[in-house]
C-alpha cells in the first residue's frame, strides 16, 4: 500500500483530517480541562478559566477521597462485583439449561428471558421501589444489585446461549457416556470453553453497574450506600463552591473504567459492541 502518510495528500483528505482533529479536540479538551481544574482552588477556576493552576492543589484529591468519595468507591466496588458474579453465574447456568432442554420448553424459557428486552427499566422503577420496600430490601445493597442483575440477564443470556449453541457436541457426548452429571458438563466443558463470551459479558456488566444512575438514585436513600454516580451529585451539593475538590472526585470516579480500557481496549470494545445495546 502506498499511503503510509499520517496526513492524507489530497485536498478533500486534508479537510476531512482537519475535521477529525476538531472532533478529537472537542472530546479531549473538556477532559483535559477537568483534570487541570481539579488541581485548582475556587478562585483559580473562576478567575482564570483557561490557565494552568498558579499553585497545584494536590490536596484536592485527598480531600475528595476523605469527604466521601472513598465510601462511594467502596460501595460501587461491592455492588459491581456482586452484580457481576450474579449475572455471570445465573446467565451462564440459564443459557446452559436452555441449550440442554429438549422439546419446546427450551424455546419458551428463552422467549421469556428475551421478552424482558422489550422493557426499559424506567417502566419498572415505581413498582420496584414499592416492591423492594415490602420485601424489606429497600436501602440495602440488594436494592441495587437485584434490579441490576435482572436487567442485565436477558442480553447476557442471549450472548452466552448463542455461544453455547456453537460448542461441539462430541466432548459432551463422551462425558455423558462416562456418566457425567449435567453440573459436571456445565462446569468442566461449557464454562471453560466459553471464556471469550464470558469476558464479554463481564465487561458489559461492569460497565453497566459502575455507571448506572437511575436505579441507584431512586432505590437508595442512605448516604452510606450510595454508589459513585449518585454520590457525586451529593458530593457536589455538599461542597458548594469547592469546585476543585468536586472535579477531583469526578476524575477519581473515572479511573477504574479508564484503567481497564487502557489495559485491554480490544476486549473492552468487543464487550460493549457485542450487545449493541448500551446499558
Amino acid at each position: 500500500m502506498k499511503s503510509k502518510r499520517i496526513i492524507p495528500r489530497s485536498f478533500s483528505g486534508i479537510l476531512v483530517f482537519l475535521f477529525l482533529i476538531i472532533l478529537v479536540f472537542l472530546i479531549i479538551y473538556p477532559l483535559f480541562w477537568i483534570i487541570i481544574s481539579s488541581f485548582k482552588d475556587y478562585q483559580g477556576i473562576y478567575q482564570d478559566v483557561w490557565g494552568l493552576p498558579d499553585e497545584w492543589h494536590f490536596e484536592n484529591y485527598t480531600r475528595a477521597w476523605d469527604r466521601g468519595i472513598s465510601q462511594y468507591f467502596v460501595n460501587s466496588i461491592i455492588v459491581t462485583i456482586v452484580t457481576l458474579v450474579g449475572v455471570v453465574f445465573v446467565a451462564s447456568a440459564a443459557s446452559f439449561g436452555i441449550v440442554q432442554l429438549r422439546g419446546k420448553l427450551g424455546n419458551i424459557v428463552f422467549l421469556i428471558t428475551m421478552g424482558c428486552m422489550l422493557l426499559s427499566p424506567q417502566v419498572c422503577v415505581l413498582p420496584l421501589f414499592m416492591l423492594l420496600r415490602s420485601l424489606g430490601l429497600n436501602d440495602t445493597y440488594f436494592s441495587m444489585i437485584f434490579p441490576y442483575i435482572a436487567f442485565r440477564l436477558p442480553i447476557s443470556i442471549m450472548l452466552i446461549r448463542s455461544f453455547f449453541v456453537g460448542i461441539s457436541k462430541e466432548l459432551e457426548e463422551a462425558a455423558v457416556i462416562d456418566g457425567a452429571s449435567l453440573w459436571t458438563i456445565f462446569s468442566r466443558i461449557y464454562v471453560p470453553l466459553s471464556k471469550p463470551i464470558i469476558s464479554t459479558v463481564i465487561i458489559m456488566t461492569v460497565y453497566y453497574a459502575w455507571n448506572e444512575f437511575m436505579f441507584a438514585t431512586i432505590l437508595v436513600d442512605s448516604s452510606a450506600l450510595r454508589t459513585i454516580p449518585v454520590g457525586l451529585m451529593v458530593f457536589r451539593d455538599g461542597l458548594m463552591t469547592e469546585w476543585g475538590v468536586v472535579m477531583a472526585g469526578m476524575v477519581i470516579s473515572c479511573i477504574p473504567l479508564i484503567v481497564i480500557y487502557l489495559f485491554m481496549s480490544k476486549s473492552f470494545i468487543r464487550g460493549l459492541t457485542a450487545g449493541s445495546v448500551k446499558g
Binding site: S70, I77, S199, I202, D221, S223, P256, F263
Partner: protein, 425 residues
C-alpha cells in the same frame, strides 16, 4: 481473560483494608439505644452533630446514639415513608407547620406538654413563637432548636452612596430598584432561579402578604384548595415584576452562585437571603463589606399581615413508639440548651431558638439583629414547600421559573395550579 481475573483480584484485594477500617461499632450490652435521624449530612452541621453525640455518649455511657442523615428533599420523602411505619426513628428532625402536621397525622409522634410543664426552667428558655410552630390544638409535638427568617439583605455602602433607605412598601421597593438600575446596577436584585426552592421562598412570602389569610389557609389545605381568588394572579404579577430586576442570567444559575458571585462582589446590591446563610455569606464577603437587612415590603393592596416573617423554625420530634422515651427526652433537653445552642450558632450560623444561646462571643452582631427581627415579627410564616401539598408547590415552582424566563403568564400558571389543586382534592 487472565488480565481480567487479575484486575478483579486486585480490586477485591484493594477493598479489604477499607472494610477493616470502616467497621462501625454498635451499642454494647446494657446500653440504651437511640436512633436519631436528621436532615443535615453536610458540614458544618454533620461534624457538629458527630462531635456533640460523642460528647453526650461520653457523659452518658449507658446511652448509645445511632445517627443517620440525608439531605433535604430526600429526607422529606424518606421520613414521610418511615413515620407511618414501625421503623419510625426514636428522634427525628422536622420542619414546623404543615410538615409537622403531616408527621403528627401518622399518630406516631409523642405529645410533649407534660415534659414542657415538668421542667419550666428548661422549657422557659425556648422561644415561644417557635414552639407555636409545633403546637396544634394546644398540644406541643416538637422541640424547636433553630429559627430562621428570609429577608432582603442589602449592601450598605451602595445604599449610602446613593442615599437610599430601607423600603417599607412595594412602591418604595420598586422605586428603589429602578434607582439602582438607573445608577448602572444592571441587576439590582441577585437571585439564582435554577433552584426551585428559591422561587418558592419568594412566592410563599408574596402569597402570604397578598392573599386574605383565611382564603390562603383554605387553599393550602389539600382537601379544600381551589386557588381561584383573583388576587393570586395579582401576586404572580408582582413576582413577574420582580424577576425583571434579576437579569436574564437568573434562570441559568443557582442561588449559591448568585450569592457568591453577584451579591458578595457588589455587582447586585440586594438579595433575598435566609439568616441561616450568614456564615456562608461571611466566608465569601470582602473585608470591608457591610450589609443590613429589611423585611419583605408590604403590598399596598395586600390582605396578609405585612409584619410576618417567612422562615419556619425547625426542631425535633420523638416517636411515641420509642422504647426509651426518657432517654430521648434527656438527650433532647441536653441538645436544646443554651450551651449547645451557642455551639449551633457559632459553628453553623443557625439562630438558636434557646434564650441565652446568642452572646457576643458566639454570635455576630448581624445575627443578634436577626434574632431581634425574628422576635419582633408578628408571626413566622412557613416556607411554601412546607405549607402546601407537593402536587401544588411543584406547579408553583415550575410556573414561577417559567414566568421568570418569559414562557408563561401569571394567568396561565394559576390555571395550572388550579388543575393541580383539583387533582388532589
Amino acid at each position: 481473560m487472565k488480565k481480567l481475573i487479575l484486575i478483579t483480584l486486585v480490586l477485591m484485594l484493594s477493598i479489604i483494608p477499607l472494610f477493616a477500617g470502616g467497621a462501625s461499632e454498635g451499642p454494647a450490652e446494657g446500653q440504651t439505644e437511640i436512633y436519631f435521624f436528621h436532615r443535615w449530612p453536610n458540614d458544618p452541621k454533620n461534624s457538629m452533630f458527630n462531635a456533640l453525640l460523642e460528647e453526650y455518649m461520653a457523659e452518658n455511657p449507658d446511652v448509645y446514639i445511632t445517627m443517620d442523615c440525608i439531605l433535604n428533599d430526600q429526607y422529606k420523602e424518606r421520613i414521610r415513608m418511615v413515620v407511618s411505619s414501625d421503623d419510625v426513628p426514636d428522634v427525628f428532625s422536622s420542619w414546623s407547620g404543615t410538615f409537622a402536621e403531616e408527621m403528627i397525622d401518622s399518630g406516631n409522634v409523642l405529645a410533649l406538654n407534660d415534659i414542657y410543664e415538668a421542667d419550666p426552667e428548661w422549657s422557659g428558655k425556648i422561644a415561644s413563637a417557635s414552639v407555636a410552630g409545633f403546637t396544634f390544638d394546644g398540644t406541643i409535638y416538637g422541640i424547636p432548636w433553630s429559627q430562621d427568617g428570609k429577608v432582603f439583605f442589602y449592601n450598605k455602602a451602595i445604599f449610602e452612596e446613593l442615599g437610599l433607605e430601607e423600603p417599607e412598601t412595594w412602591t418604595e421597593f420598586i422605586a428603589l430598584l429602578d434607582t439602582l438600575k438607573a445608577n448602572e446596577y444592571e441587576t439590582p436584585l441577585a437571585e439564582g432561579l435554577v433552584d426551585q426552592w428559591a422561587v418558592l421562598h419568594y412566592l410563599g412570602t408574596i402569597l402570604q402578604r397578598m392573599i386574605d389569610p383565611e382564603v390562603l389557609a383554605s387553599d393550602y389545605n389539600p382537601a379544600t384548595g381551589e386557588f381561584t381568588d383573583p388576587m393570586y394572579v395579582t401576586a404572580l404579577e408582582k413576582w413577574q415584576q420582580l424577576t425583571s430586576y434579576m437579569g436574564e442570567i437568573a434562570t441559568a444559575i443557582d442561588h449559591e452562585t448568585a450569592r457568591n458571585t453577584m451579591f458578595a462582589t457588589g455587582e447586585s446590591p440586594i438579595m433575598y437571603l435566609q439568616f441561616a446563610e450568614i456564615p456562608q455569606l461571611e466566608q465569601v464577603l470582602p473585608e470591608d463589606f457591610e450589609y443590613g437587612f429589611f423585611n419583605f415590603p408590604a403590598f399596598e393592596e395586600g390582605l396578609g399581615d405585612p409584619e410576618a416573617l417567612t422562615g419556619a423554625p425547625e426542631g425535633f420530634m420523638i416517636s411515641n413508639k420509642a422504647e426509651n422515651i426518657d432517654a430521648c427526652v434527656d438527650f433532647l433537653k441536653w441538645l436544646v440548651s443554651p450551651e449547645r445552642g451557642a455551639i449551633l450558632t457559632r459553628d453553623c450560623g443557625d439562630i438558636s431558638s434557646v434564650d441565652g444561646a446568642l452572646t457576643d462571643e458566639t454570635a455576630l452582631p448581624e445575627q443578634a439583629e436577626a434574632l431581634k427581627m425574628i422576635q419582633e415579627a408578628s408571626f413566622l410564616a412557613p416556607w411554601l414547600d412546607n405549607a402546601c401539598d407537593a402536587a401544588v408547590y411543584v406547579v408553583f415552582g415550575q410556573g414561577g421559573q417559567a414566568i421568570a424566563s418569559g414562557d408563561a403568564t401569571p394567568e396561565s400558571v394559576m390555571v395550572q395550579v388550579q388543575e393541580a389543586a383539583a387533582s388532589i382534592r
